[in-house]
Symmetry: C2
Amino acid sequence: MHLPTPRSGMADHELQGFSTKARAASELLKALAHHTRLLILCILAEEEKTVGQIEEILGMQQAMVSQQLARLRLEGLVNTRREGRMIYYSVGHSGTVSLLKTLFVMLPDGIEQQG
Amino acid sequence: MHLPTPRSGMADHELQGFSTKARAASELLKALAHHTRLLILCILAEEEKTVGQIEEILGMQQAMVSQQLARLRLEGLVNTRREGRMIYYSVGHSGTVSLLKTLFVMLPDGIEQQG
DNA sequence: GAGGAATTATCATTTTTGATATATATGCAA
DNA sequence: TTGCATATATATCAAAAATGATAATTCCTC
C-alpha cells in the first residue's frame, strides 16, 4: 500500500483526488478521536457487547454511550445485531483494531498523572 | 501489544488509567484528523520538505501550512531542522506512517480489504 | 552594522464544528 | 397497558478552522 502523496507539478485533478481521500480519512479519524469512543472500541475489540453492558463497564450515562455509538455507526466503525430489546455492538472493520494497536504504541510511556 | 480494555467490575483506579490513556490517544488522533495535516504527513513520509515546498505542492496559503505544521509539532508528529532561513520538516514518529497506511486502507475505496 | 527581501511563525477575528447534559421518543416484550 | 433498552432532539458551552495582518529570523548588499 502506498499513501496518497501529492507531489510538485502534479496535475490538478490528481491532487484533488488525494485531497478527497484525505478528507475521507480525516472523517474516520474524527470519529475515532474521542476518549469515550476509543474505550468503547477497545471493549468491543475483545467481544461484542450490548449498550447496557458498555454503560456498566464505563460507568457512564445511557444517552452518552448511545450518542457515541451513533457516531461510530455513522462511520461504519461498529456493527449492530438486535436480540430482543437489546442491541449488540461489535467492531465493524478489522483495520480499526490494527489502527488502535499502532496508536497506543505511539503514546509516550505511562507517566503517572493526577486524577 | 494489548489495548487498554475496561472490563466489568474493574477497580476504579485501573479504569481511570485506561481513561487517561484513551485521552492521550484521542489527542494524537485529533492532531491527525485534518485533511491538510494528513496530506502534509503523506508528503513528509516520502522525504523531508521545507514549508515553502509544502505550500507549493499543496497550493495553499503560507499561514495555513505553517499553522498546521505547528499543530503537528505540538504533538511530536513532525521534526524540524533549520538550514539557513529555511526549515525542513520530517515525520517525527515511525508509528505515524504505519498508522496512515492502515487508515487509508480502511477507506471505502479499498472495499476489497474489508472484513 | 543598517536596510531590505525571503522564509517561517504567530496573532486576532469570525465562523464552524464538536462535546455534554437533559429531555423526550421509539421499539420490543411481558 | 407497563416497563425496559436504546435512540434521537435540543440547548448550552467550548474548541477548532480559515483568513488576513503582523512579527521574528536569517541572509544579502551596501
